[in-house]
Symmetry: C2
Subunit: 221 residues, 2 copies
DNA sequence: CCTTTTTTTATGGGAAACCGTAATTTACTG
DNA sequence: CAGTAAATTACGGTTTCCCATAAAAAAAGG
């Protein structure tokens, strides 16, 4: 059963509607914060006081302002929160739609649900909370489809490094030098060319610009 | 005095919090829609019935779905609404933060206010409605600063077309043919090269891959 | 209508990318 | 440790990109 919930969300309007959604689910013991650091403090305080939160609903991106934060965003918050309270359930509520990021949340951070800020997000939020209350995970169909799409072709660290360098304006012929500097092997120009060709073949592309665009869409770079 | 308000916003959660904000301002005669076309219909109906809206609060970006729309977004909606009801006041409530777009809204579409989805957006929304009720315009300080800081480089349709073609894998030397096919002038290869160089100069880039990555980050392509 | 200015297009040389192949190094096996 | 297989790197020819300059076309001004 979920009775005590913490909302971490920098947009006041979104914060309000999440509160309203919780009210409609008859969850009255809620706290809300606008900064990640505040969220972590609240979680730690609640654990110390023996009245820990059942669920954290958090955004991923928090706009920086004059109030300097140690936690840079939702992902950092989740990692930190899991240390002070390993059994805390986490529901991510974000506009994020890059498959790689959502996939990372599922597999590396083991979150309990993801609701994307979109058309029916309030309804999905209610469904998610109900599911999580019954110790089930909640990922809407369109999110699962996004994750599957990511697995269409998975890039290695080597791939990502090369494409990142290209996207930074490094000449292809200069990539070997950068790879050697980073201590990455192989580093030969032919190996770089071979890998780029394999990726383009796999995806039916002909130009590096397509790879950059594709990786940006996926959030891989 | 503002008594009748229409909310056009595709995100259910945001839509809810705008309604709640209006309630708190004791504005009870509200309607809300999730699609642009519905918004225009409502406005037209209200005009016909002699009970027109005082204010339209609209988002800019509406995510496409199976429900095909003739109006492609908030800007189209504003233009269409102004035709059926020229005296309709318009408050844009959007996450948009590109100076060029906001500037365009102010000067070409003559909107009455802009509130950006951000930290204190609910408070700003109330302030904006109060200001507009007194026939004043409302643009928060940080929005005015964004508009002033128009030194940021903004892409033309021509720029976007070229970069989109590159991101689709079209060879640079083949772009003139595509431009001619689309009836876009200029279409010479030198013109394409010139424009690309200008963009790269402006942004301190050296390679087209950087432009593609930059535009992807901006959501321009 | 002609001149001046600006914009667009054409051209050519040099740099980078592309692509196949050969040489070299590394890894694996008996 | 030799021998084979695999991966990596090096090299050369072709295409594309890049960049400077010149020619042509369009726009602006008197």
């Amino acid at each position: 059963m979920i009775t005590k919930v913490l909302i971490a969300e920098d947009h006041e309007s979104t914060n309000i509607s999440v509160q309203k959604t919780l009210e409609e689910l008859a969850i009255i013991n809620t706290a809300y914060v606008y900064y990640c650091d505040d969220a972590l403090n609240r979680i730690a305080q609640a654990v110390s006081a023996g009245s820990s939160f059942d669920l954290l609903i958090t955004d991923l991106f928090f706009e920086p302002d004059s109030n300097k934060q140690t936690l840079s965003g939702g992902i950092d918050l989740i990692a930190a929160a899991r240390i002070v309270q390993p059994d805390l359930k986490v529901l991510v509520f974000s506009a994020e739609n890059r498959p790689a990021t959502i996939d990372q949340l599922c597999h590396n951070y083991d979150i309990d649900g993801f609701v994307r800020k979109a058309r029916n997000d309030a309804r999905e939020l209610k469904e998610a909370i109900n599911e999580i209350a019954q110790h089930r995970r909640y990922f809407p169909r369109h999110i699962r489809q996004l994750i599957e799409k990511k697995n269409a072709y998975s890039f290695s660290d080597f791939d990502i490094t090369i494409i990142t360098l290209l996207a930074q304006g490094i000449l292809q012929k200069d990539i070997p030098a950068h790879l050697q500097y980073k201590g990455i092997k192989p580093s030969g120009l032919s190996s770089v060319e071979k890998r780029l060709n394999q990726m383009k073949d796999m995806l039916g592309f002909t130009k590096n610009e397509q790879l950059v665009a594709y990786c940006k869409d996926l959030g891989a770079i």
